[in-house]
Each structure stands twice: as structure tokens, then as C-alpha cells.
């Protein structure tokens, strides 16, 4: 049997297709992308090496500053709210018997739907004359221009988009926490009730410490997801008004494929990769400190 499992020819046949695809479609393009980020490249002529100029230009690019600010806002907002609301929903749902599956499935539903369709749907709901504002008008109120307002440090459209993203993806975090909570042994809770713990107290002292590894997983998923975030913004505001709701991904798309500045867009891509790696490393270091035996 050992001979069979060490068969060189079989190993090569099994691993080659995946390895080849990975190298050609992922690994080489990443290296190219890093190289392009040091080049002036507009598509028609060959890339020309210009050193750090693309990165220096970033400092002067006002839209990029908005994009970076919005991306970071988004990252922090979604990590925190998904953690709090995801945990709250998971905690409540594990405590009820009837209708648990129904509520769970309803909240998870948007996770499998196309974020393009949902983005468009919410765009209409928050558009000036439809949806929410029609509802407010029924009560004699005049709603704000949800997706156009530009006052404040974090402008109203960003809050609206962040809310929609939370609405769409909180089911994912909730399910991850629920899966982890249902793995905690019942005897721990029984012991705590005998000691006179209330349900809230046992949640804080038993559940929270035990699901810490899952918090790290869910948070890194959220973090990478919010840095990659594109579909909702592209369909709700297209980065407007006046580039104020631009995030890194939409800015990369606009610069690369509307203005054909491939070099500059690649530089944004490099920033995005670095951020992804840094944030994941940070979360895993800070949150995943100890592992308890379950």
C-alpha cells in the first residue's frame, strides 16, 4: 500500500491541474501587479518603470484619501457591529426553542442573495422619492437625501451603506457564533446555574471566553470582506456624490478601468493586499490569545 501511495506519477497527475491554475491565474498575476505598481502603464504602450511615483501620487489624490478613510471606517464599523449584533442574535436564538430555525433562515437569507440585486434594491429604498421617504411622508415627515448628503466627517451615505452591509452579512457572523455556542458542553451551564448564575452572567463568563477563537475567525472574515467591499457601493452610489463614498475597491476599479491607469490602480491593489494581511495578522494576534479546553 505504501508503494501505491508513493506513486510519483499519480501524485503529479493529481496535483498538477490545481498547481498550474494557481500559478498561472493567481501567483504570476500578483507578481505582475506588484511590478506594474512601480510602472507607468496605460494599456497601449508597454509598462515603463517609474519607481515610487505611483505611491507618491497617492498622497495628492483626494479621492484616494476619501477611499482610504471610508474603507477604514467600514472595516471598524463592520467588525464591531457584526460582533455585537451577531453575538446578540446568536445568544437570543440559542435560548429559544420554537421558531429558531425560522428566524435563523430569515436572517441568513441575504447572505446567499446577489449583493448586486440587494444593493440596487436598497438604492431605491433610500432614493429621494421612493421607499423610506414615501413612508416618512405618510407621517408628514420629510426624509433626508439618504445617499446624496455630504455633511459631517463620516457622511450619511456611508452610514446607510454600512447599515445595508450589516443587514446583509450579519447572518454569517450569527451562524458562526451559533455553531460555536452549540458546541459548548451543557454541563458547564448546569454547574453555573447551581452556583446561582443568571443566564446573562453565564453568557458573559462561560460563553464569551469559550467562543473567543471563533470571534477571531469571524472578525477576520468580516475584515477581509469589508476591505474587498465593492458590489453594494458600486450599485448604490457608484462612489458618488463627488467621490465621497469611494472605497479602495471602487477607486481601483474607476482608476483602472474607466481611466485606464493600470499602474496606479495596481498600486492601490498592493495597498489593499498589505492591509488585508496586516489586519488579519492583527486580529489573530489580539483576539486569539488563549485557547480553552471545551
Amino acid at each position: 500500500m505504501d508503494k501505491l501511495l508513493r506513486d510519483k506519477k499519480a501524485i503529479i497527475i493529481f496535483i498538477t491541474p490545481a498547481l498550474l491554475l494557481f500559478t498561472v491565474v493567481l501567483f504570476i498575476p500578483i507578481c505582475q501587479s506588484v511590478y506594474y505598481s512601480f510602472c507607468e502603464y496605460k494599456g497601449l504602450t508597454a509598462p515603463k518603470f517609474i519607481g515610487l511615483t505611483n505611491y507618491r501620487n497617492m498622497l495628492k489624490d483626494k479621492s484616494l484619501v476619501y477611499a482610504l478613510k471610508n474603507s477604514l471606517f467600514f472595516l471598524i464599523f463592520s467588525c464591531l457591529t457584526q460582533l455585537v449584533i451577531g453575538l446578540l442574535l446568536a445568544g437570543l436564538l440559542t435560548n429559544i426553542e420554537k421558531g429558531r430555525n425560522l428566524f435563523k433562515n430569515i436572517i441568513y437569507l441575504p447572505c446567499v442573495l446577489s449583493s448586486t440585486a440587494l444593493g440596487l434594491l436598497w438604492m431605491f429604498i433610500f432614493s429621494p422619492k421612493l421607499g423610506v421617504n414615501q413612508l416618512l411622508a405618510k407621517f408628514g415627515m420629510e426624509g433626508p437625501k439618504w445617499l446624496m448628503d455630504t455633511s459631517g466627517f463620516i457622511i450619511l451615505p456611508m452610514w446607510v451603506i454600512a447599515f445595508v452591509a450589516l443587514w446583509q452579512y450579519v447572518g454569517q457572523s450569527m451562524m458562526l457564533y451559533m455553531a460555536q455556542i452549540s458546541g459548548i458542553s451543557k454541563s458547564l451551564y448546569e454547574a453555573s446555574y447551581i452556583d446561582g448564575c443568571s443566564k446573562v452572567k453565564s453568557f458573559i463568563h462561560i460563553t464569551l471566553p469559550l467562543i473567543r477563537p471563533m470571534v477571531a475567525t469571524a472578525m477576520s472574515l468580516n475584515a477581509i470582506g469589508s476591505l474587498k467591499f465593492f458590489d453594494l457601493i458600486f450599485n448604490m452610489t457608484e462612489g458618488g456624490p463627488n467621490h465621497r463614498t469611494e472605497v479602495l475597491a471602487t477607486h481601483l476599479y474607476t482608476q483602472g478601468f474607466k481611466f485606464n491607469k493600470y499602474g496606479y490602480a495596481s498600486a492601490i491593489g498592493v495597498i489593499l493586499i498589505v492591509l488585508c494581511l496586516a489586519v488579519t495578522a492583527f486580529i489573530n494576534k489580539v483576539v486569539k490569545t488563549e485557547n480553552y479546553e471545551m
Partner: protein, 279 residues
């Protein structure tokens, strides 16, 4: 004792009220769009929250034909279907090599694949776009399948490796004694025993690619080859003023998923969660 019982009942009721409110926030937007998609454009502004006066189906017909959503749905099916089959096959082959076969580089190979999970697709878009334009793969569905397939592989390989590693040795030993070849073992023993894993990875792959917008938008510009999210995003845009048609288009895009979800919701939710837990 009685007092604490009423207290816990009150808390239970409050939990249910809260969850019902949450459920309303989730369902109301979808129901509203579904309702107004049957209305005429004027009705949306005069009576937005009433039931539609008559079921006006022209919106759907227009969106399906003029919005090219019909052909887009077909394209999405082709791309996602091909990607699904290939990623399950290629992914589990690689996973089998890493998890079961014995060679020195299995560990480093796994690390190489796992890096792929961290890489956002945005970062490889520009090189892919320029390369594909040169070799004639832009504007073709094959050009879309290649990156979709590649980005589905890490999760597939990760989950399937777990399944193959946990498979009992005795099964493979006995197959060996019966004279099965390594390929026979893979197709007749390893794959059928990992059906759960195949289901989970297949589901994740299909859902992710069915909803993918950015790459499809970049790589495909020909109207007849666009996938569903791209056509939808183009049809429902600032230049269209017929709201009810746009609502109908949104409904067309999400209704198949909703129907499938309603039938298999428990399996889908558990499957995707299992995938995310392991990934």
C-alpha cells in the same frame, strides 16, 4: 417561585418581539420590491404601499427580453456550472494528493494554496485583463471560468483535505489488497465517502460565483456574454427611468435563489456555515 416564572415568561415574550422586529426588517424590503414590481410606473408614486391593482406582467417580460436577463441567466448557469464541476474535480484531486498520498512537498503545497484565500480578486484583475486581451480570452465565458475556478480552489482544497485525512486507513488498505489502482481508490472510495464535503464546497463555489460582479464586469463587455449581476447592474442604472421595470429585473435576479433557499434552507445554511467554520 411563581414570580420568577412570570419573569422568565416576560423575557421570552420580549425576545420573540425583538426577533419578530428583526425578521420584519429582513423581509419588508424584499416584500415591498416584490409588490411594486407588479405595478405600473405611475402607481409606484401614487400608492406605494397598497397592493397592486392588477398583476401587471409586462414589467417582467420587458426586463427579461430588453434587459437581456434571459440570456444573462443562461450565461450565469453555464459559467457557474462548469466552474462548480471543475473545481470539485480538480480541488479534490489536489486535496487527495495532499491529504492521502505520501510525498515531501505536500505541506508547502498546502501553504501555497492557502495563501490564495487571503488574496482579494481585485489585486490580480489588471494583469488578468491585459493578458486575456492578448490571448483572446477576454469577452469569453472560458476567460471567466478560469479565475472563478482558481479562486474557488483554496476553500475546496482546504475542506476536502480535512475529509480525506479523517478517512479510516483500513478502507484504503482493503481496497489495495483487492488490487484497486490509486485512481480507482480515489473515484470509487475516497470521493463517494466525502459527499458532505463535496456538497459544502460545491455550494460555496456556486453561491460565490453566481453573485460575483467585479471580475465579470471587467472581463466581459459583450452584451450576449454578460452574467446575471452584470446585466442587472447595467439595466438598473441611473439612465433608466421606468422604476417598475427595474424592480421586476431585481425580482427576476433574486427569485430563483429565494425559491431554492426556501426548499433547502437548513442544508444551505448549515453547509455554508460548516464551510466558513473550516475555512
Amino acid at each position: 417561585m411563581k414570580n420568577s416564572k412570570t419573569k422568565s415568561t416576560i423575557i421570552k415574550v420580549m425576545i420573540y418581539v425583538f426577533l419578530t422586529l428583526v425578521a420584519i426588517i429582513y423581509l419588508a424590503p424584499l416584500l415591498w420590491v416584490f409588490m411594486v414590481s407588479f405595478k405600473t410606473n405611475a402607481e409606484i408614486f401614487t400608492s406605494p404601499f397598497a397592493l397592486p391593482e392588477s398583476f401587471y406582467l409586462d414589467n417582467f417580460i420587458f426586463a427579461w427580453t430588453a434587459g437581456k436577463l434571459g440570456i444573462a441567466t443562461l450565461n450565469s448557469f453555464i459559467v457557474c456550472g462548469v466552474t462548480l464541476v471543475l473545481s470539485m474535480l480538480i480541488g479534490s484531486m489536489a486535496a487527495f494528493a495532499i491529504g492521502r498520498l505520501r510525498w515531501k512537498l505536500a505541506g508547502p503545497c498546502m501553504t501555497f494554496f492557502m495563501i490564495g484565500m487571503m488574496i482579494p480578486v481585485h489585486c490580480v484583475m489588471i494583469p488578468l485583463f491585459t493578458r486575456f486581451a492578448k490571448i483572446g480570452l477576454s469577452n469569453s465565458l472560458i476567460g471567466l471560468v478560469l479565475p472563478y475556478l482558481t479562486f474557488s480552489l483554496p476553500v475546496t482544497i482546504f475542506i476536502m483535505t480535512g475529509f480525506f485525512k479523517s478517512m479510516p486507513n483500513e478502507l484504503i488498505e482493503s481496497a489495495c489488497i483487492d488490487g484497486a489502482s490509486i485512481y480507482g481508490i480515489f473515484f470509487k472510495i475516497a470521493l463517494p465517502l466525502s459527499k458532505t464535503g463535496l456538497f459544502v464546497t460545491g455550494l460555496m463555489t456556486f453561491v460565490a460565483n453566481w453573485n460575483e460582479l467585479l471580475l465579470a464586469m471587467v472581463l466581459i463587455s459583450d452584451d450576449t456574454k454578460k452574467t446575471l449581476p452584470v446585466s442587472l447592474s447595467k439595466f438598473v442604472g441611473p439612465y433608466n427611468t421606468n422604476y417598475s421595470q427595474m424592480f421586476a429585473a431585481i425580482i427576476i435576479a433574486i427569485i430563483p435563489t429565494i425559491i431554492v433557499y426556501c426548499i433547502f434552507s437548513n442544508q444551505i445554511v448549515d453547509g455554508l456555515t460548516a464551510g466558513a467554520v473550516k475555512g
